[in-house]
Subunit: 491 residues, 2 copies
């Protein structure tokens, strides 16, 4: 294929990296662990952003913006929170550079040392709850339903494009409520919004569930999550929504006057998804020929490639192509006509396969004569000749069909790679031979969870919300278990 | 009025600050010089973003994302660039916190010191041109037309909400071209896009021009700008577009193979507008009653306030209000029906005046009887009764009318506050008594410019592109001048 992609079977991890680079999605920068998101990758992320933003607003949320920097003292106020993030913080200590007097070039000016160090936000609970203290006095000020689109920094030692980078883009919702019940309902609602988005927009099937205590967000009482399964049998956490209880309200002294005249601490949630979703998208649908994009997310849904030798042929073909492009655009489709004369059709076919454009239309002189076009779909790599008069209808149907076929295919893969086991021996065997989700009974203790993790590298991805409530006994300790949980190796 | 706004005449600067705070646009955070943009302020910024983004894409640009951090060595490569920004850089020196062994709480881990310090981007030319080196080999790779929406940090000592903050939000376009001519055309095009946006979307009249050498961007050969005039007679630079020549291409060794087989350095531009535009918006249109928003930028273009005493009246009024809201929404208008029973109509009137909602509709029991509503426009503070059957048409016309009246009013103010002078004595007198733009002859030297600045605090805002080309002699030195330039005190 000459696409410089390592086949998945040979080295899945290398395939992923090759694909991200060669499909022009992102690349490493000169800054350790920080990526450059290239225009094609960013166009996909923008489509995710636009749809999520619409869904957030539809559920009553507004956007705002909070500072990039967090004073160290704020950061330290919620004990479990700082424990969770302290080891991966970028710290600003100075505010000026200068020309070195001894000729060493530009150096940090030692006289411009900050009195208090600033942390580059790894997440914004602390700075936001310090702000909410000023916003909230009475029950009339509640709920606060705010989201921000922002960059955050977590100093990761081993980074991978989109999946784990020192800086990444995300949205973080931070809400404040009068009651525990309302806050829990909000956390659940946002998990559902994320699941809806993943499944219906990204065509990525997910399991909704709760994290175990050891996998919870630092400072949360409960973490809801959506978990997806990648083609190599590893799980990927695609979004989390946290019920924070009154932890941050207590740490930042945020109280409200109740209707009845009392004074209570406020209840909180936070929830986020990030550019990591790009990784989920890529690893759910793509193949050895390159990216496969669901039509909802494709920057170009259709590409038209002209086939010709003479100038005359080019003109005849272009005329059909441009008319078709116009008709398709009228239907709201994103259509590119690639009439560059610097590249051959074969090169273009390769390129759009690599970039995952859902439908490719090729038009040659014979098509002009016969009134046909060649229609190829990226997901199945099948081709057919279609009368020009039927193309628009056909493409409209294809958009829906490809979107749902991708989802069904991924769902089928997940179902085929979700295995119930009842013994630790089977568990290890499945994990080694087949991978995927393993549904098993667990005694609910961190000790057992930790032992399994140490011995097999598998973790509990979630306690599914829609699991069978069939009771059983832990595959390790034999102690009682109220329901099966999902294990997997994970990204 | 009870809006807690200092009148403009009493203290313009305090009026501005009161307005930003009381209209819920932004507030200071606990982090020195960093603001919190509140939901109402952010909703206005989002409207600016959406329109600018549309205009950038229409002119062929794509979005991408580059790292927040810039290694100190990159930052130092372009000499005049680092000189311009070194004094206001936030510097990351460490990547980990830890629990102090002597019980001092959370401290920076001295063992986690970075080998090379990272600068939090004050602007991204250096990191982007380091990336472009990998993207550009041949003339076929050009032009590159990329924009990014991002946060940047410049450690300002004196900060003011929106106008000058340590962290601010902006967009920065960075383009690469094969020829000098193309790059200059791009820089000019983007200045024109900004001017179009400011005048036709924000209703803020601007003067297009060139910066003098001393006011140019650090690293630019030419800086194009748009300058607006605020109500206190001070100018505000609302956007800049830089022709960077080959400076960054040379600093980062970015060459391309020409069609003819040669090897040349690439030509560059960069251009940006920021949340500073919020300041320009506020100070162009608002009054002592609060914010005045042009309909294009108003998160709510129309607010409907019900007037009632009894539950029965409320129901009758609500029915009319809801129907009207639906009809107006069908026309694509953003309409809020404020049916909260926690606040009185008078309070609501005040609130929406403060927040600058262009049109307010009040409906009471008598209106229900008579089939009328009371329509009030924010810009003129005039009211009239309008038959319900005519409201939709009337409001649609008002949207256009208010938008253009605001622009004309601001333009008239600017014209009335642009004064031609021919002597330095008159210059100083006008500057003191009247303010505004002063159009005068200048000999083209930095020395004269510097002297005027030191003696009067006025700077050359721009050399207007559309100025009369009438020659004359410098008001200070009497040396020849080819055209008048615009002076003003500036934000």
């Amino acid at each position: 294929m000459a696409k410089n992609l390592t086949p998945r079977k040979e080295d899945y991890s290398k395939w992923y990296n090759d694909l991200v680079i060669n499909a022009d999605l992102a690349e490493n920068s000169g800054v350790r662990g920080c990526m450059v998101i290239k225009p094609y990758g960013f166009a996909i992320w923008e489509r995710m952003q636009a749809e999520l933003d619409r869904m957030f607003k539809e559920t009553g949320h507004q956007n705002a913006y909070f500072p990039l920097f967090i004073p160290k003292s704020y950061f330290s106020k919620e004990a479990s929170h700082v424990d969770g993030f302290a080891k991966e913080c970028a710290v600003v200590t100075h505010y000026r550079l200068k020309n070195d007097e001894e000729g060493k070039g530009i150096v940090v000016d030692p006289e411009a040392k900050l009195e208090e160090e600033l942390i580059v936000r790894p997440t914004s609970e602390t700075i936001i709850w310090d702000t909410y203290r000023k916003w909230i006095q009475s029950y009339r000020d509640l709920p606060i339903l705010v989201n921000q689109w922002a960059n955050v920094v977590r100093w990761e030692m081993r980074t991978r494009l989109f999946l784990r980078t020192a800086e990444f883009l995300w949205q973080e919702g931070h809400t404040a409520h009068a009651t525990e019940k309302e806050a829990i309902a909000e956390a659940e609602q946002m998990m559902n919004v994320y699941a809806d988005f993943a499944e219906n927009f990204m065509a990525v099937p997910v399991v909704k569930g709760l994290k175990t205590e050891s996998e919870r967000f630092a400072g949360a009482l409960e973490t809801y999550c959506i978990e997806a399964l990648m083609q190599d049998g590893k799980a990927l956490q695609a979004g989390t929504s946290h019920f924070l209880g009154q932890n941050f309200a207590k740490a930042f002294d945020v109280k409200y006057a109740t209707k009845e005249g009392g004074l209570e601490h406020v209840w909180a949630t936070s929830w986020g998804v990030s550019t990591r979703l790009m990784g989920a998208l890529i690893m759910t649908h793509s193949d050895d020929n390159g990216l496969v994009l669901p039509p909802n997310l494709a920057p170009d849904q259709v590409v038209i490639v002209p086939i010709y030798r003479s100038e005359e042929q080019f003109e005849a073909v272009s005329k059909v192509a441009k008319e078709l492009q116009q008709q398709l655009r009228k239907e709201g489709l994103r259509v590119k006509f690639d009439d560059r004369d610097t590249h051959k059709p074969g090169w273009k076919f390769n390129e759009y396969e690599l970039k995952g454009v859902p439908v490719r239309i090729a038009i040659g002189p014979k098509d002009v004569e016969k009134g046909t076009v060649e229609l190829a779909r990226r997901d199945t790599l099948t081709k057919e000749f279609v009368p020009q008069t039927e193309v628009v209808e056909k493409v409209k149907l294809l958009m829906e069909d490809i979107q749902s076929v991708l989802f069904e295919k991924a769902k089928h893969y997940r179902e085929a790679h979700t295995t119930e086991v009842d013994s630790y021996e089977d568990f290890k065997k499945i994990l080694k031979d087949k991978g995927g989700f393993i549904s098993a009974h667990w005694d609910g203790t961190s000790e057992t969870e930790e032992r399994i993790k140490n011995e097999t590298k598998a973790t509990i991805r979630c306690i599914p919300l829609k699991g069978s409530n069939e009771a059983g006994s832990c595959m390790i300790t034999g102690k009682p278990s109220s329901q099966r949980v999902l294990f997997a190796k994970a990204y």
